[in-house]
């Protein structure tokens, strides 16, 4: 094998390892929803290339209000779906849309755009 081949081999394997680590292995720890005076656990989520923050921590048994604000026009993200709650909301660009949920038991519930490209997690404690 020539030097350039060794370089390509090493570089390629490193790149593959990086892809695995970057996309699958690293996970954010999440943001805790703040509690309002009316008893809601509220969090603001920015929809732009993904959900920011994408992991929301809430407590079980109390209503949750997630305010989604979409700041992009890609057609994939024009809806957010909470499959476990059977809820969904349309997200017009530039408008804040509130999604209200009542998580009854602890667990992890995913939310995503219809095509599953954007994903977020609601962690109920």
């Amino acid at each position: 094998m020539t030097v350039d081949r060794w370089l390509v081999l090493a570089g390629g394997l490193t790149l593959i390892a990086f892809i695995v680590w970057f996309f699958w292995l690293k996970r954010s720890s999440g943001v805790r929803a703040s509690e309002t005076s009316s008893g809601y656990q509220e969090a603001m989520i920015l929809v732009k290339g993904g959900y920011t923050p994408d992991t929301i921590l809430v407590r079980a048994g109390r209503p949750v209000r997630l305010n989604f604000r979409r700041e992009e026009t890609a057609s994939c993200s024009d809806k957010v779906i909470f499959a476990d709650f059977g809820k969904s909301a349309d997200l017009p660009t530039g408008t804040t849309v509130a999604v209200e949920l009542l998580p009854k038991a602890p667990g992890v519930h995913e939310f995503a755009c219809p095509m599953g490209m954007f994903r977020g997690r609601l962690v109920v404690e």
Binding site: M1, R5, V8, L9, G12, L13, L15, I16, I19, V20, F22, F23, W24, K26, S38, M44, K48, G49, G50, Y51, T52, D54, N67, E72, T73, A74, S75, C76, D78, K79, I81, A83, G86, K87, S88, A89, D90, P92, T93, T95, T96, A112, P114, M115, G116, M117, F118, R119
Partner: protein, 846 residues
Amino acid sequence: MMDRPLRLIEPVVDRPTARISGHVAELDLKLSGLSCPHCPPKVQTAIKTLVGVKAAHVNLANQSAHVIYDPDRVDVGAIIREIRRAGFGAGVATTRIPIRNMHCASCVTRIEHALKMTPGVTAARASSLTNTVEVEYQPEQTRFDHLRGAIESAGYRIVETNVPASGAGDGDPAEVERAAEYALLMRKFWLAAAISVPVMALSYPDLIPGLREWMPMGSTTRRVVWALLGVLALPVLVWSGSQFFTGLWDGLKHRTANMHTLIAIGISAAYLYSVVAVGFPQLFPRAELAEVFWDVTTVVVALVVLGLALEIKAKGRTSEAIKKLIGLQAKTARVERDGREIDLPVEEVVAGDILVVKPGDKIAVDGEVVDGKSAIDESMITGESMPVEKGPGDEVIGATLNKTGSFKFRATKVGKDTALASIIRMVQDAQGSKAPIQRVVDTVSGYFVPSVMMLGVLAFMAWYLFGPEPRLVYATIVLVTTLIIACPCALGLATPTSLTVGIGKGAEHGILIRSGDALQSSEKLDAIILDKTGTITKGEPALTDVVASAFSEDDVLRLAASLERGSEHPLGEAIVKGAEARGLKLSDAKGFAAIAGHGVGGEVDGRAVLLGNAKLMRDRGIDVEHLTKDWERLAGEGKTPMFVAIEGKPAGLVAVADTVKPDSKAAVATLKAMGLEVVMMTGDNERTAKAIARQVGIERVLAEVLPDDKAHEVQKLQLEGKSVGMVGDGINDAPALAQADVGFAIGTGTDVAIEASDVTLIKGSLVGVVTAIEISRATMRNVRQNLVGAFGYNVAGIPIAMGVLYPVIGLLLSPLIAAAAMAFSSVTVVSNANRLRSFTPERSAS
């Protein structure tokens, strides 16, 4: 102090009134959602758990609650919240008011405070983020004017909603946004396409006579032209392809990858390679290696952008059904306020308003007629083509059309509570829900794009390490082609687009499919259980026969009818109506008791009266032997005969009959033809049940099923290994509907949001079940085609792009072909879903 004992039956309460004396206050509150006998205790217990509530009584008959509480320890808002938490409505309306000049945090509290001081307002939540305030109020006490007054007194202004004069407002923000996005993408496409033509031609000069001679390989002319082409291709990359790079960047920030990631890496790899080839040809061992791929950059951008534009256009059409529904909403209403009739935007109508409707007007909101009479065309909501006669006390549905007369009605449900709004919400939620089949796709799509990136790298390595010369060129082409051909969008779009169209199609036919789950389950049903009353039959029985022994016919009927006056059972109502029609004067019954599934008993005019089936008579030791013959005759005719016993002696029979809906027989035949086993279930006796079953052609009958056993019977059928659908009304059959794999509820009027059901049939006809199953079969077939297409495309396309066929048949895909394939695979998926729009129910077209 509490100055009077709590009476068991409260007078009818029209408006909530609070009386405060000392540290005890009393509150009368109108409730909603009290549909069953178990509901009042539930609400009562819920209210009583609150600290500060001394007593609570809930009255089922007039749907109200009387609460005695300590205002220092608990407020009205808390009581209402508690009632809601128990799952009932507490007569409060909610409205969202947009407010101008609300900028600071203190504005929020100021507005909320002003509103909360307004009598009848139970809660107010302002948000400086959305510049709106959400107000909960008692519609009987508060008018919109009062709310406006409160907001203005706090120094703020309401944003007046602009109401378009004509009915068809084209202001759907999603629609406008989609149109703008489409126009932008098309502009990007045209630029990319226009630049692609010269770039293509000049990139392959060796293939074109004339050019070949003018710019021979290795010449300076060729290098200069190619360098200029690179400059020409730059706007395509930077502007037409900008969304790929912003998508890549936004994705990377969230550690996610999507279609944009793949395209962005692909086109930039091709561009960078070309830059190096033109700028530093000396880096390449041989001159022919210094090829350029500008054409890959421009053509890929052009094709993919065109694909995106077409996809947006096609996706817009998938939600046409919901647009039609939204378009049904009335824009204005004529409201009577302070004795004057004023036209208001429909958003300002509050529950309790009196609305005036003239012939030809659209009814603005749901309500109850208080004065006048008219025929109303409800076809847009119920699908019933004949206009319905309405008079005082009847329910009218918003968005329906008044035909002949003028009338006034009191608004009962406004805004998001109207039947139409619930329908729209249900359809939207359903369209956004996921079919179980989608879960597979979800799992795949989470790993898809990074996997494709790894495959691209692997292919590059393989071609570089083991491929033929020029290795670098081949490896680069293969990497770019692999990244570009992979189409995560086709996978992601496959299920949701078909569901959106299918569920919308259902709504057009008066069928509300609750979720993707329900849609998928409906397809696989083996058996369907039909409740008899109200489903197969009209559900409005009428008195047909009276048989008397030892008493006069009138006596038997009069006593039976008097006893039934207290009952809400439809059979009882038929007897009462029948007796009234014969001019009999009814008396009051004492100690009325319903014996579930058996009959009723009580005391009329000092005489003990029993009315019910043979079991009841046997249990009470009453010999009805001599009446059995008549009973059998009537039952054989499909009627429901009931024994009447007076003072423990057999007195006779009263029979009522329920007639079969005109289209039930055809619907049953079609269901059978579709391969379903049709079963009838009823609480009635076997004879009656069989007579009806014979009329509609059902062989398997489950008769004398007690209400509590219905769910159990469904389960028994499921234990036979069948997937079971249950059709019934949403209230009495709720447990059975919930137990069934798919529960179909027959809806009526404004009562569309039936919780227990998976599918609601607004038309109230069995044909709806046939249509629902047809739609589910067509939709799921479509979903499967899409999934097979999308999976098949990627599974076949990616390896071919990686060059697995090269060693075998020497086939290597051009990145241009890959781009075309990728762009049109997602368009194909969406177009295939759109084919469903032309679906017409074949079997149920009667």
